[in-house]
Every structure is written in structure tokens, then in C-alpha cells.
Amino acid sequence: MGLVYLFQEFIKLLNVTDLLYCLFSVQLGIIFGMLPGLTATVGIAILTALTFKWDPGNAILVLIGIYVGAIYGGSRTAILLNIPGTPASAATCLDGFPLSRTGKAAEALGLATTSSFLGSMVGLIALAFLTPLLADTALKFKSYEVFWLGVFGVAICGNLTAATDPLKGWISGILGILLSFVGMEAIQGYGRFTFGVSELMAGFSIIPVLVGTYALVEILSNLSDVETPSMVTQIGRVLPRFGDIVKNWVNIVRSGLIGVFIGIIPGVGENIGSYVAYDFAKRASKKPEEFGKGSIEGLIASETANNAVVGGALVPVLALAIPGSPPAAVLLAALFLHDVRPGPLLMIEQPMYIYTFSAMFGLATIAMFVLGIGIVKPLLKILRIKRTILMPIVFVLCMVGTYAISGRMFDIQVMICFGVLGFAMRKLGFPEAPLVLGIILGPMVDENLRRGLILSGGGIAPFFSSVISILLITAIFFTLFGRTKPVSSVVRAFFRPVTLLADSVKSIFRTRK
């Protein structure tokens, strides 16, 4: 029945006005996503203000379009310039940019578009049909589990981005967590590490940090490194090969489901989703050594997951009025502004709204695919512009994005400081991504650790007692020590009977053939 409702609502949207609104907003979202510093959150926030007096239906359609477009659009600069337009695309840089450098920019963009489309479709299914069920699971995450989830996010990111020297990745992640403690903490209201600077009381906004550590570092590296080879341009086949997609169907389904699951968990968001999916893809791959050097599997995993997170993140928005990600939080506020009351009562008060909303999401996804495939080739022209011209222009846009968040010159100073820090880290072999993730997850880790301890009266037993906590702790353990010889040999010995059984089953089938 749900499918019929979804189809009915989708048909209603097939009119010229809604189609134009959708195409316009998705294209604008792609542009926002492409520009470093102008994220999906900023895009939705700006458009919420601009569309405040519009008809609620059109306004929500535009905001969904911006969200879907921006998360996808971030992959463009990630692939072409190694600058993730949004935090969600940080994992895409790992394989997207190497592919671009080897002359496969068009192929990488085509694959990213298709993966994003498929990821969004998985998200759409979750949004329309699994909302009540999945919302139940998300509600089971208490402070203890959220704390472990944050630690897991930083550990996995450290592991992934510093494959040859995970220690440096973890140091970077811990440094990020420590930097996130700057400012007034949420439980006692005490200003930590502010040194009397009033601007530091609010902590570091994520946008200046992101723009500094990614964009400014990339701009300075590009402008200073005279030996760097020029960007390679190859206008090849934009539509990805059907075979590449079919070959990766397990990867796509797995990454989509991971994205949806991560999206449902409040506050986690697209960036973690893409990293987790990337790690799973690497572990499952027959060619893990290609990851980080231009692996198609890695690119597909990160892009499928970050777009699947969008659908997942909107599930708790509609079902519980709890945002799954920062852009979803702004969208939630926009829904309230437009007199839509999300939450458990939505299904009773406006039972069809979930399908209307899902249909809008579906339409935006299709628009994203059409525009994404349609404008791949014109976008490759960015590669033809000299870096020494392009990079300063990108920096001007970075300044705009950084300042636009709260209109403070202090944010520009923060951005420059993080640029210097990021540049030094890059030269010393420390990855920047765990630092950024640490800053994003630090408050979540801190608040949930202390809140959990307050709830348990100082006891640590609840942190280790639930099934979800145990699963997460196991995941953290294997992330940190899974590749060490003692652990891997124990795991191999543990799974030896299963491997033997599988081998014997295989040999039976071979004999029959």
C-alpha cells in the first residue's frame, strides 16, 4: 500500500512548476556542494530564509533538492581538485582524486553520480518504508552507545587515512577531539582552553576548520608545489560502464545499507557514513591495496553511502523529530517553520506526509542523476584552468563560505590557523581527515561519556553491558588491532573451521561440475 501512496504522491509532483523548482534547487545544491565551505547545511539554511514566504510544498521541495544536490555536489571538487566540497565527500577524495590524476576524471564523476543516485534510492526506500521500524532501532542508542560510536568513527578514520602508519591517523584524530574541547562545554558551562579569548567560548565552528584543513592546505600546496604535474584532462565516457556497476552490486547494497543505518543514528551524519562504508569495502575487496590509489570500489562505496545517509538521516527527522545529520537539523527547523510537525504524531496527524516527503526526495534524486550526468563534461573544464588562476578564485569563495556562517572575522582567522596546522600535518605525514572528524565528534564523545557516567552514578558497567556497546567495542578493537599479527592469527584460528567447511563445500561443487 505504501508503494501506491508513494507513486500517487510522485505523480502529483510531475507538473512543470514542481519540476522546475526541483531542477533549480538540485542544481543550486550541486553548486553549493561543489564550493568548499558552502555545505549542504549552509545551503539549506540560506534557502530556508529565502523561501520562508513561499508555499510550504514548494519550499520543502527546494530544501530537499538543495540537500540532495549539495551532498552529491561535494564529490565534484573532491574528484577534480582533491578538495571535498562538503565533509561528506572527504572519503571520496581518497580514490576520486587519484582516478582524476590518472586521466579518469570523467569516469570517476560518472561513477560518483551513479553511486550517489543508487545510494539515494536505498535512502528513499528506507525513508518511505522503514521509517517506523528503523526509528525504533535508533531510539535504543543511549549515551553509552553514542560514546562508543564516536570513538569508533575517529578510530576507523585514523586507520583509513593513514593506512601505512595508523598511529599518525589516531594521533590526528585524538588531536581533533582535544581541539573540539575548546570553548564552553555543555554540561557544566565551563569554558575550557579559552585563555580569556571570548570568541573561543563558542569553540571552533566546523566550517572554518574544514575550509582551513582541506581547502587552504590544498590551495597552498597547489600554489607552492612547482613540481606537481598538471591536472590531467580526459573527456572520455561519462556514463559509467554497466559492468562496473553490476560488478559492484554487493558493494553498492552494503554501502547503501551502512549509509542508511549511520544516517538514522542521530547526529552522526554523511561523513562517518562514507568512511565506514569505505572501510567495509576495503576489507571486503580482493584488491585492498588499490584503495587510496584510485580504487573504483572505494569511490562507489563512499559516494553510495553518503547519499544513502541523506535518506537515513531524514527517517528520524520525520518519525522522531530528531535530526540524523547537521543538514537534517536545519531541514527539521525549516519543516517547523512551514507548519509541518514532524515526530511520532506525524503518522497520525498527516499520514500521507511521509509519502509526499519521500516523493519529493525521489524526484530530487532523479534530478540529481540527470543534472549530474548532463553536466559532467562542462565541469571538466575546471581542470583546464591554470591552478595559479583557479586556486586563488577558490580561496575567495572559501572566504565567502567561512564568513557566511556567522559573519565573524574570527572564523577567517581560525580558517587560516587550521590551514597552517593542516599544511604542517600534511608535510609531516599526518592525515587531516581524522583531525576534522575528531573536531566533529569530540563534543558528542565528551557529552555522552559524562552524561552516561552521571546517569550511572559514576559506574562504567553500563558502557560495556548492552549488545550494541559490545558490538561497537569489538569493532573498535578490530579497527585498532585487527591488522596486528597476534590478533589476525587468533581470528584466523577462530574462523579456521568455517574456512575449512567453506572450502570443502566449494570442492564438492567443483567435483560435481
Binding site: 540560506i46 598511529l167 562545554e185 557544566q188 607552492s224 612547482v226 557566511a404 609531516l428
Partner: protein, 160 residues
């Protein structure tokens, strides 16, 4: 892996020393934070910074020990090395690019956004000799004015 660690032993040693000192400083500041004894030590704002500074100290010490094993402490900068560094094109370009960034950030808010941006773009393109003077002027002015118009007038974003 061992070769890789050997290669980076010297920069790792410097990084490890800096990180060890940093984590010790953070630990010191954390321990000096108020305890809020009524709510219990677990509610204190210093709890997480203490735990994570100890974790960073532990990781930094591992890095330090590893770099010492590969004689990373043997840092000696000869006059030739210093001169080579100072004369390197990479350093010149970095200093120029970063100085322009600083000047741009300093001037923002003091002069009109479009003017400062145009000056920044013009200076960058001029330094890196990316194109001729006239083309440079056209690119700089057009880019900065269009960015300013687009964000200030169309998107209504506050600009510095």
C-alpha cells in the same frame, strides 16, 4: 614499513616532541580545571580532556620511541642545507602564497570586498605569471565582482 619509518624518523622525532609537550600542557591545564565535587568527578569538565590528553601522550611517546630507534634525534642542519631550503622555489612560492592570504585576510572588512578580492586575485596571478596583465585584470575584476554580486545581492549572504 620499517623503511618508511626510517625515512620519516627525523620529522617524526620533531613531531613527537611537539606532541608530547602539547599533551603534557593539555593534561596540566585539564588537571587545573574545577572539579564540581557535588556532582562527582565524572561530571567534571576535565574528565574528557584528561583521558584524551593521556591517550595522545601515549601515542606521542610511541612515535618518539620509534623515531629514536631509527636515530631520528640526529638532526643537524648544515649551512648548505639551510641555503638550499631558503633558495628553494617551493619555499618562495609558499611564502608568497601565504603572505597574500594573510594580507587579503587583513584587508577584508577594511576595504570593499570586491576591491580586496580583485587585488588579491590580481597579485596572485601576477606573482605566478599565469597570464598577461590585461587578461589578469579582466579575470580578477570579473571574478571578484561576480562573486560579490552573486552572494551579496542574489543569495543575501553577509560578506566581509
Amino acid at each position: 614499513m620499517q623503511d618508511k619509518h626510517k625515512e620519516t624518523a627525523k620529522p617524526d622525532f620533531i613531531a613527537a616532541v611537539v606532541l608530547t609537550l602539547l599533551s603534557l600542557s593539555i593534561l596540566g591545564i585539564s588537571l587545573a580545571m574545577p572539579e564540581y565535587a557535588r556532582q562527582g568527578a565524572h561530571a567534571a569538565p576535565s574528565l574528557s580532556p584528561t583521558i584524551f590528553s593521556l591517550l595522545m601522550l601515549f601515542c606521542s611517546l610511541i612515535l618518539l620511541v620509534r623515531s629514536v630507534r631509527f636515530r631520528g634525534y640526529g638532526i643537524w642542519i648544515s649551512r648548505e642545507m639551510f641555503l638550499q631550503f631558503v633558495r628553494s622555489r617551493l619555499v618562495h612560492n609558499f611564502v608568497a602564497a601565504f603572505s597574500l592570504v594573510l594580507i587579503y585576510a587583513f584587508l577584508l572588512g577594511k576595504l570593499h570586498f570586491a576591491l580586496v578580492s580583485a587585488l588579491y586575485l590580481f597579485a596572485n596571478i601576477l606573482y605566478f605569471r599565469s597570464t598577461g596583465l590585461l587578461k589578469n585584470l579582466i579575470i580578477s575584476v570579473l571574478s571578484s565582482v561576480s562573486i560579490w554580486y552573486c552572494f551579496d545581492s542574489l543569495f543575501l549572504i553577509p560578506l566581509p
